[in-house]
């Protein structure tokens, strides 16, 4: 395993961790181990999905995001609200109210990521005309799904679309438009994404398919929500700017929004990380060979279900649905009509390089050694009870066997094996005592 430290937004608050097995059992990439009474996140396996944040009863798992203090480092600041932010306010029927609220919080300007999504939608539908791309084309929008593929489905990496995330495209346009409007230098402008999830924060610090993110920081949607909520009801009609995105761009906040925006007939929109894994397995088996597009969202409901959102994801989904249907009539139907080609040519929308595999499942670099380790692993698995109880600190008996083979654990950490051994010893002692008598 490589030792290079990777940036992760998902972290552990050591003092709060009780060393229970909740997060251990729910991690989709088996990236958590409990050792010496507390959880440890294995850097190279973590995909920042935030499932552990949701499941931890002690709030020991957190998502690190940037503080609002960071805004002070820039002469000007622009807020990039993810469309999922609109789903947090049930009473709001006009996106402009939220945009005005963000300005009241001190941002000099606001640029909707939904508009970035409109640009990306056009880029995707143009790109999909290329018949040489392997089908199904896999959306690159959810960074957790992309990282999941890196670690668990490296053979599907060629299927990932080489288009940047809406957040990135929005940041490029936002900065450029702000600078020309206010005649200032690009470095004077801080562009901040309001994020529903830790994965986007990680994608800013350690970008996928590009060397540097155009976003300067990410503020937690939960934090913005708490500040915005008291302001929203006081915003006057004349203060609200016109929304610049289309219904299709806003729809990206929920699962299937992306698919609807690019009009793909034979597409699957899958939400929830375990569901994504199931479908990716089938894609890997070529079982879904007639599929043209796969949109996977790690969170249930899509981005509205992100670990940093406040509102129940079903309620948020309904709010988004209403906003979408309100603006559907004035939204041009085809992706081409929503965004002029000049925008596509002016801003970078394609990734700079291919996304590399990140094979953390490998037992050894040398296949012969790996086979020996696997042999040994199988022997250990046969000797374990198969309860998958997590008491040893590994998520399953199989993962425990793997940890033993890799030298991270030892067999007597299995309490069932230990119990058997003690029982044996006790029996032997009784025998010994009896023979003496």
């Amino acid at each position: 395993m490589d030792t290079q430290a990777r940036y992760h937004s998902v972290r552990l608050e050591k003092e709060l961790c009780k060393g229970c097995t909740n997060c251990l059992m729910h991690c989709p990439t088996e990236a958590i181990r409990v050792r010496k009474g507390r959880a440890h996140i294995l850097d190279e396996r973590c995909i920042d999905c935030g499932e552990c944040i949701r499941i931890c009863n002690y709030h020991a798992k957190i998502a690190a995001t940037d503080s609002l203090e960071m805004l002070k480092r820039f002469r000007y600041t622009v807020a990039l609200p993810a469309p999922s932010l609109y789903g947090q306010f049930r009473s709001v029927t006009d996106v402009g109210v939220i945009l005005a609220g963000l300005k009241k919080l001190g941002f000099d300007d606001v640029f909707e990521v939904a508009r970035g999504a409109d640009v990306v939608s056009r880029a995707i539908s143009d790109r999909m005309r290329d018949p040489t791309l392997p089908r199904p084309i896999i959306s690159s929008a959810c960074p957790t799904v992309v990282r999941l593929i890196q670690v668990r489905f490296p053979d599907l990496l060629p299927n990932i679309l080489d288009i940047r995330q809406p957040m990135e495209v929005a940041a490029e346009i936002a900065r450029s438009e702000f600078c020309s409007k206010h005649s200032c230098a690009p470095e004077d402008v801080g562009v901040f994404f309001i994020t529903p999830c830790p994965a986007k924060m990680t994608a800013i610090r350690s970008p996928l398919g590009q060397s540097r993110s155009a976003v300067d920081g990410a503020i937690s949607m939960m934090e913005i929500y708490s500040l915005l909520r008291p302001l929203i009801s006081h915003i006057q009609k004349d203060e609200t700017p016109e929304g610049t995105s289309t219904a299709y761009g806003i729809g990206w906040a929920t699962s299937s929004g992306e698919t609807k925006s690019i009009f793909q007939e034979n597409a699957l929109s899958v939400d929830g990380i375990q569901n994504c894994i199931r479908v990716l397995e089938e894609i890997e088996n070529n079982k879904l060979s007639d599929l043209t597009f796969f949109e996977g969202n790690a969170c249930v409901g899509g981005c509205v279900g992100g670990p940093l959102t406040f509102e129940n994801n079903y309620v948020a989904k309904n709010t988004i649905r209403k906003l979408v249907s309100n603006s559907l009539l004035r939204s041009p139907q085809t992706p081409r009509d929503r965004v002029p080609p000049s925008t596509l040519n002016k801003y970078p929308v394609r990734m700079e390089f291919e996304i590399e595999p990140h094979s953390v499942m490998k037992l050894d670099d040398d296949i012969s050694v790996a086979m020996q380790k696997m042999q040994r692993m199988n022997e250990i698995i046969d000797s374990l009870p198969g309860y998958d109880c997590g008491s040893c600190g590994s998520p399953t008996c199989r993962a425990f066997a793997e940890d033993i083979v890799l030298g991270y654990a030892n067999e007597m950490e299995c309490i069932h094996k230990l119990k058997d051994r003690l029982q044996n010893m006790a029996e032997q002692m009784v025998e010994l005592a009896q023979t003496k008598r």
Partner: protein, 141 residues
């Protein structure tokens, strides 16, 4: 050329609840062995097809995985019924899948052609009343 890894998976006829489990395990093993993404994908497709063939068409059988540093081998051996005309069965679009299988989305007649296309070595032997054996090889490195 020594086989260092050998695993056997019994596959029952018409057992759709377990269908795909053997190929999923094969996939996991190959990922752990660090088999390249390109080979992995081809084995994934072929092993799934061959496992499903055992479920849909055979009277049950065994799928065997053998890995050496040079190649991955998949051997499917069933207890019957055997294929009367192998040449016909190898044609794209030819299928004898029953209604249950078709209702589950199988039976497009691509199984055997897909296996042949994805494997580097492919061999099929069949005798009516005895059974079918399919051997596939995938070269590593």
């Amino acid at each position: 050329m020594s086989t260092l890894l050998h695993a056997e998976y019994p596959v029952d006829a018409e057992d759709y609840t377990r269908a795909g489990e053997a190929s999923a395990d094969i996939k996991r093993k190959l990922k752990q062995l660090g088999v390249s993404a390109q080979v992995l994908r081809r084995v994934a497709v072929a092993s799934y097809e061959v496992e499903l063939n055992l479920v849909i068409h055979s009277m049950g059988g065994t799928l065997t995985l053998e890995v050496s540093p040079e190649r991955v081998r998949l051997i499917s051996a069933d207890r019957g019924p055997g294929i009367p005309n192998v040449e016909l069965a190898m044609r794209e679009g030819w299928s004898t899948a029953n209604e249950t299988a078709r209702s589950l989305g199988f039976g497009a007649g691509m199984g055997l052609p897909n296996m042949k296309r994805n494997a580097d070595e492919f061999d099929i032997e069949s005798e009516v009343g005895r059974g079918t054996t399919i051997r596939m090889g995938f070269l590593l490195g």
